[in-house]
């Protein structure tokens, strides 16, 4: 790892409010192009949320193609509309954590078993390999990892309907 640039970058851009010392645009390849205040240009930056589950709307980091952080945005809402929309589009295209709204059925109460669920991205099936794949993030929030590493989020167990809760309860 090339250390000196890393530390230089670490103290780099931090956006906390109002004026953005950078501008974003999309190039012909569909990549995000970052133009920083010092005039340097970086193509193919990737937005990443700092706390995608506990505070999805707060911090976002723009990483360069080399994995180094270019810009740290304390609050996404503090940005102007253009860059914010670009970042949100990019995030939406990259992030895939379906939120479970309803558990239709479970093939068996022994793992592995097939779950049939309704998520915010539509209906789907997935295979739960073991009970330990269900993780409690907080009191009412669960993250369920399927066989292929897709994570399903249950944002609030209490908000599920009674039948879904009953099914879920058999695994907790």
């Amino acid at each position: 790892m090339n250390a000196p640039t890393a530390s230089a970058r670490n103290e780099g851009n931090t956006v906390s409010a109002g004026v953005a010392p950078f501008s974003l645009s999309r190039d012909a390849f569909g990549r995000l192009v970052l133009r920083e205040a010092d005039g340097s240009i970086c193509a193919g930056v990737v937005p990443v949320r700092g706390f995608p589950i506990s505070a999805p709307d707060e911090s976002v980091s723009l990483l360069g193609p080399d994995g180094r952080e270019r810009v740290w945005i304390e609050r996404l809402s503090s940005l102007d509309d253009t860059p914010r929309v670009l970042i949100e589009e990019e995030l939406a295209a990259r992030e895939f954590v379906p939120q479970i709204r309803e558990i239709h059925s479970v093939s068996s109460f022994f793992t592995p078993c097939m779950w049939h669920v309704v998520t915010d991205r539509g209906e789907t099936h997935f295979v739960l390999r073991g009970e330990e794949a269900i993780r409690r993030l907080s009191r009412n929030m669960l993250l369920i990892a399927d066989e292929n590493g897709v994570h399903y989020l249950v944002r609030d167990v209490e908000a599920l309907d009674a039948a879904s809760r009953k099914l879920l309860d058999r695994f907790m």
């Binding site: 790892m1 250390a3 890393a6 530390s7 670490n10 990443v48 949320r49 700092g50 706390f51 995608p52 589950i53 506990s54 505070a55 707060e58 911090s59 980091s61 990483l63 994995g67 180094r68 952080e69 740290w72 304390e74 330990e132 993780r135 993030l137 993250l143 994570h151």
Partner: protein, 793 residues
């Protein structure tokens, strides 16, 4: 803790004999009448003789001689003292030796176990003090009052404010064996039996009212179950017998009695339900409180305790044994109380109906009581043994599963399986032995009750034949004693549950009774602003019978970075553990900003300490939670800032869920360097005044080390830092290097100073370099470090 030491400094004018411990007075008085006005300055009790047999002895110092009294009839020996007399103290393998020497050679030698070490040390100090007084021309061999007070300064640090004699033992046990013998209530320990269960009352007290309500319900429901047999009496005598004699049945009377029976059953049912529910509720709460209390207490115990216990054993105690107590309280104790009530009430009813028949009915009772008593002892020992063996079984699991990589790498699955099978086999054998007793017990009780029933039939028929009682009375009696004996039977069964629960309770209270060897100060000193000056004064530390630190003294200025250097076992980590107050020194003290750390509240003190270990431990949870472990209220921005300073920010962002990624057991796999940077961020976030780096970079490669080193450089800024490292090159930023050897500081100075001095550090450094020259390939510097680290392991 500053206490007024009593030591064995006695007023010189007092008559000697009166000042010895009570049990010695008689012995000495009998043996040495001629030594009468001995002017005793101090004494120490010994527990071994010259051939290392356990035998008590008493060493006494007078103004002119050392006296030795051996227990059991020997003549006391006296050794006159001269100006060149001196005492030499040494220990090896748990046995101490005190030698009286002069310039010509050894005069006498005494042996003792380390339990006596502190007392003997004090004796030797006293002797030293006396000698100084003697060597002064104006003194005539007698210590003046002032001089006698002088050793107090050193005494004060040994921390026990105890009168000479009895208390010395407890204090010494603490210093020598740490927590090994620090069980508070030795008396209660003796009576391990069911009495331990009464101690649960401490946890039951908050639920007094509910317990009382439960008891009243029990009383009522038991009473209700006793009504039906009573109603059989009139049913028999007023309905059935008259019918046999030709009197028609009165349906109204029958309906009355039958509805009475039904009502009694219904009342008994509802009361029984209420009682069971209420008491189960309470006992569940008591069990939960007990478990939490045991765990809370366990967490407060010092590292020494955890060092000596196996994880599986502790888990079994807190997990399953509290549960067993719980079940006992909610089910068996309840049954037992009901049984007891039932028996008492039944007995009362029986006596009220017919005293003679009642007497016969109750005959097998003493026999059963005797049986219970007989079996109880054997069962209790059996169950205690079973618990220990069960802990053994779980311990095998707890040892093996975390070390599974080692097991597999050395292909030792078969051996581990065998180890488990053996433990399991032990468990089975112990169970078999117990079951032999147990299986005999319960049928014996049944037999006794059957015989009892037979006697009642015989006696009853004889009585009916003689016209003394009616058939109805006999029927009622038989109905009652049917219940009575079932109760007796189930009551005898509770013996096993009681003993199981008692064994469990004993093991729980063993934890609860344990006093931490790192006690909280009674009147803690507040230290809101810590500067970070550390003074280590004459610190001795003994682990078991091994002396790890001997008279170590070290001053560290606020903000200074110290590198601790030395071979393995030289006491580096021990010193750091003492500074963190994971242990307390056997002797001497450690002061921070001029305050003894033992007088600070432990939690307050540790808040100022940041610790980065060789093997960073991440708890199961998100990365953000792990970074904020020391300060859960930290904001997200603070967490991110700490992660940035620890050079962890970018790799965290690259994880699928950023700061919300789960790590720790069963969590996201992180490399050693990444884990280390998270632990550095954790230390940074609490912004400690004192920072301890214990081999923080030893377990990673040199490239990762550079990355970590940069993070550490951020961390070290402006803090008092103590760094331990095998790779000497990682300590280049240290203001001062301290070289330890066998528990002592042998050199201090900067790298250049120490190299010039050509001493121990020079040797260490050269050794690391030589290894690099042997291996010419690769990056020379890296090789030095890697190999040196390897070599010094």
């Amino acid at each position: 803790m500053t206490t007024i030491p009593s030591a064995h400094l006695l007023p010189a004018a007092d008559p000697a004999v009166a000042l010895f411990p009570a049990e010695w007075r008689r012995e000495i008085g009998v043996q040495a009448p001629d030594a009468a006005p001995l002017e005793v300055l101090g004494w120490a009790e010994l527990d071994l003789d010259a051939r290392l047999q356990f035998r008590r002895g008493l060493l006494a110092l007078t103004s002119s001689a050392v006296w030795f009294f051996a227990a059991g009839g020997n003549e006391p020996a006296s050794y006159p003292l001269a100006a060149d007399s001196r005492l030499e103290l040494s220990d090896h393998g748990g046995v101490g030796t005190l030698q009286l020497c002069d310039d010509r050679g050894r005069v006498a030698s005494w042996r003792f176990t380390l339990a006596r070490m502190a007392a003997v040390q004090r004796f030797a100090e006293l002797f030293e003090h006396w000698r100084e007084a003697l060597s002064r021309p104006e003194a005539d061999g007698r210590a003046t009052a002032d001089e006698r007070n002088a050793p107090v300064a050193r005494e004060a640090r040994t921390e026990h404010a105890s009168p000479p004699g009895g208390d010395v033992e407890t204090a010494d046990a603490e210093t020598a064996g740490g927590e090994s013998g620090a069980v508070v209530d030795a008396g209660a320990e003796e009576r391990t039996s069911s009495w331990t269960l009464f101690r649960i009352w401490r946890f039951a007290r908050p639920y007094k009212r509910r317990l009382l309500a439960g008891f009243l319900l029990t009383l009522a429901s038991t009473g209700a179950t006793l009504v039906p047999p009573y109603l059989t009496m009139p049913l028999m005598d007023e309905v059935l017998i008259p019918f046999q004699n030709g009197v028609p049945i009165d349906p109204r009377l029958v309906a009355l009695y039958l509805s009475g029976l039904l009502a009694a059953a219904l009342v008994a049912w509802s009361l029984g339900w209420a009682r069971t529910y209420l008491l189960a509720l309470v006992s569940e709460r008591i069990g939960a409180d007990l478990r939490t209390a045991a765990y809370e207490h366990l967490l407060k115990l010092s590292l020494q305790y955890f060092g000596g216990k196996r994880t599986g054993d502790l888990m079994a105690r807190i997990g399953s044994e509290t549960d067993r107590i719980n079940v006992f309280l909610s089910l068996h104790l309840l049954d037992f109380a009901t049984d007891l009530l039932m028996i008492a009430m039944t007995a009362a009813i029986l006596v009220s109906i017919d005293p003679g028949l009642a007497l016969v009915t109750l005959m097998p009772l003493p026999l059963i009581v005797w049986l219970i008593h007989l079996v109880r002892e054997r069962l209790r020992h059996g169950f205690e043994k079973l618990d220990r063996i069960w802990a053994e079984v779980t311990s095998v699991l707890a040892d093996t599963i975390p070390g599974i990589r080692v097991v597999k790498a050395f292909a030792q699955e078969r051996r581990e399986a065998e180890r488990f099978r053996l433990a399991n086999e032990h468990n089975r054998l112990a169970n078999d032995r117990l079951n032999r007793t147990w299986s005999l017990f319960s049928p014996s009780v049944t037999l006794a009750t059957e015989v009892g029933l037979l006697v009642v039939w015989a006696f009853g028929i004889w009585q009916v034949a003689r016209g003394r009682i009616t058939v109805g009375v006999l029927t009622a009696f038989l109905a009652y004693i049917g219940r009575f004996y079932t109760r007796l039977d189930s009551m005898s069964r509770i013996v096993s549950h009681t003993q199981k629960a008692a064994a469990g309770a004993k093991r729980i209270f063993e934890i609860l009774d344990h006093v931490s060897s790192v006690p909280e100060a009674a009147n803690p000193v507040q230290l809101p602003q810590m500067k970070g000056r550390i003074e280590v004064r004459d610190v001795d530390f003994r682990y078991g019978n091994r002396a790890v630190l001997r008279g170590l003294t070290l001053d560290i200025a606020p903000g200074e970075m110290i590198g601790l250097v030395g071979a393995s076992g030289s006491g580096k980590s021990t010193l750091v553990n003492l500074i963190c107050r994971f242990y307390d020194p056997t002797d001497g003290e450690i002061r921070v900003d001029g305050v003894d750390i033992r007088s600070l509240r432990i939690a307050d003190y540790r808040r100022h300490i940041g610790l980065v270990l060789q093997e960073p431990f991440l708890f199961f949870g998100t990365i953000a939670e792990n970074i904020a472990y020391g300060r859960p209220e930290a904001s997200r921005a603070e967490i991110v800032a700490a992660a940035r300073a620890a050079h962890a920010h970018e790799f965290i962002l690259r994880l699928p869920h950023g700061y919300d990624s789960l790590v720790g057991e069963r969590g996201q796999a992180l490399s050693g360097g990444e884990r280390q940077r998270i632990s550095i961020a954790r230390a940074l976030l609490i912004d400690p005044r004192i920072l301890i780096l214990d081999e923080a970079t030893s377990s990673v490669d040199t490239a990762t080390e550079q990355e970590i080193q940069k993070a550490l450089d951020n961390l070290v800024q402006g803090r008092t830092t103590i760094a331990i490292a095998h790779r000497l090159s990682t300590l280049r930023k240290a203001d001062r290097l301290v070289v330890l050897d066998r528990g002592r500081v042998v050199e201090t100075g900067t790298h250049d100073d120490l190299m010039k001095r050509q001493g121990a550090y020079f040797e260490l450094y050269r050794a690391q370099q030589r290894r690099a020259e042997i291996e010419p390939s690769g990056n020379a510097d890296d090789r030095v470090e890697a190999l040196a680290a390897e070599a010094s392991e």
